[in-house]
Amino acid sequence: MFENIFSPETLTEAWGIIQSEMLFALWETLYITVIATVFSVIIGLPIGVLLVVGDKDGVLPLPKTLMHIINIIVNILRSVPFLILMIMVFPLTRLIVGTTVGTTASIVPLVIAAFPFVARLVEGSLREVNPNIIETAQSMGASPFKIIVKVMIPESVPSLISNITIAITTILSYTAMSGIIGGGGLGKIAINYGYYRYKYLVMLVAVILLIVLVQVFQSVGTHLSVKTDKRLKR
């Protein structure tokens, strides 16, 4: 399939497409990824917190049935393949955005797919907090709410940053799939030109840009995580 990929005609043609569409696609991908991550964290963080503090040994034990329900919902959403989920949430997308196709519309299924993932990541981060430090805060008369906002979350910031970085890169790869339902971005370019119209060079460039984005997000995330971690200060 890659035989005439670097022939002069394809090169000129691809260059034209790249010039006219690639920059905008890159911008769209960034836009979708960032907005979807922000909403996933807004929804996922509190749920992750609940999963930890609501435990029977947590700082704010919640009814067992409620914890069961939260866990089951998170697990169900995590187990539906993203491609199927995108289609299944069409009614919700229409309700929120007014349409089921397009760039903004693709944010809704992304958030639905990513927030349970973020919740689990947040849960993991918060469980790393030394329980003795939480007990110490309790011994000082800290309320469960204060323990969450002043101890658990601040103490796990480095871990939260590195986990949210994982979430961003995952969401980024999901945005590529949302090209199928007309979500814009690099994924749409890769599918439209590479898969439907056999312009593999364009697809290759789009994929390389996605790889570069992942690298950039990961490097920045790792750097921030290390930089904020005061345990590593020597």
Partner: protein, 330 residues
Amino acid sequence: MIEIKNVSKTFIVDGEKFDALKNVSLNIEDGDIYGIIGMSGAGKSTLVRTINMLERPSSGEIIIDGKNMNNLSAAQLRQERKNIAMIFQGFNLLMQRNVLKNISFPLELAGVKKAEAQKKALELLELVGLPDKAKAYPAQLSGGQQQRVAIARALATDPKILLCDEATSALDPKTTKSILSLIKEINQKYKITVVIITHQMSVVEDICDKVAILENGVVAEEGYVTKVFSQPQSEIAKHLVYPDYEGGSVVNADYGTLARIVLNGAVGTPLISKMTLDLNMLINLVSVSTREIGGVIYGNIEIGIEDKNAFEKIREYLKQYDGITIEEVR
């Protein structure tokens, strides 16, 4: 005053009941430095955690200055806990906050204004001898320094009680001494009641006025340190006070009666030599140990003697000395 009244605590581990505390009663007076000592698993940590209700007793009551801790609402309990500070073996500082912010943390919880909290934190940092570490992070400090910061943090809310849960167990002997003298200084300066949980005899000897010895969730012995450590009655106390105590099986048959001479305060004469000459009696020296408790020398001399008759003779002889007694071991 802290009154621990008939406190029991039962844990259920893997469906099996485990009695961590069995009907423990203790009174801790204001201003005391009270030691609770025992082997690991004796229930010490559980006991100290019932005082501030980090561990709710299964039965029994904790009464602090007349207030029953069991019956407080969650909000009242949080309020009350500001009067009961606690320090731990692992220091438990907030690792992502610098020293100053760690110390002002309890004040922040209490809603004290930031500037005021910072001023107080700096004063406390001065008190614990680390004025130049305000901006440092816990990971940059040694264990001893971290415990000093933890002590400063504990004092931030002007507590009436300081609970120390194995606070020096992770520290080397020299640092332990300096932390203990800091605790003593705080006890005297601020009249704070201190409860110390430890498995180290030296800690109790160094700073405690009173001690309770805990074994298998039961108080085996309790009272003034000078009394308990110079004349231990219970088996566990004897084990703690005489680390080599095995019930005394080292004496041969000719000197089969084992006795212990107890010294309360230093003796001016070469006691044993003089006694053997005066009584014209041979004795077998089994073990000698002396220790300083609260500035006074206490000692135990275990001797093997011929028979009961010899024991009576020695007892008569020792009557001329104040504070020296003999007791039969076997």
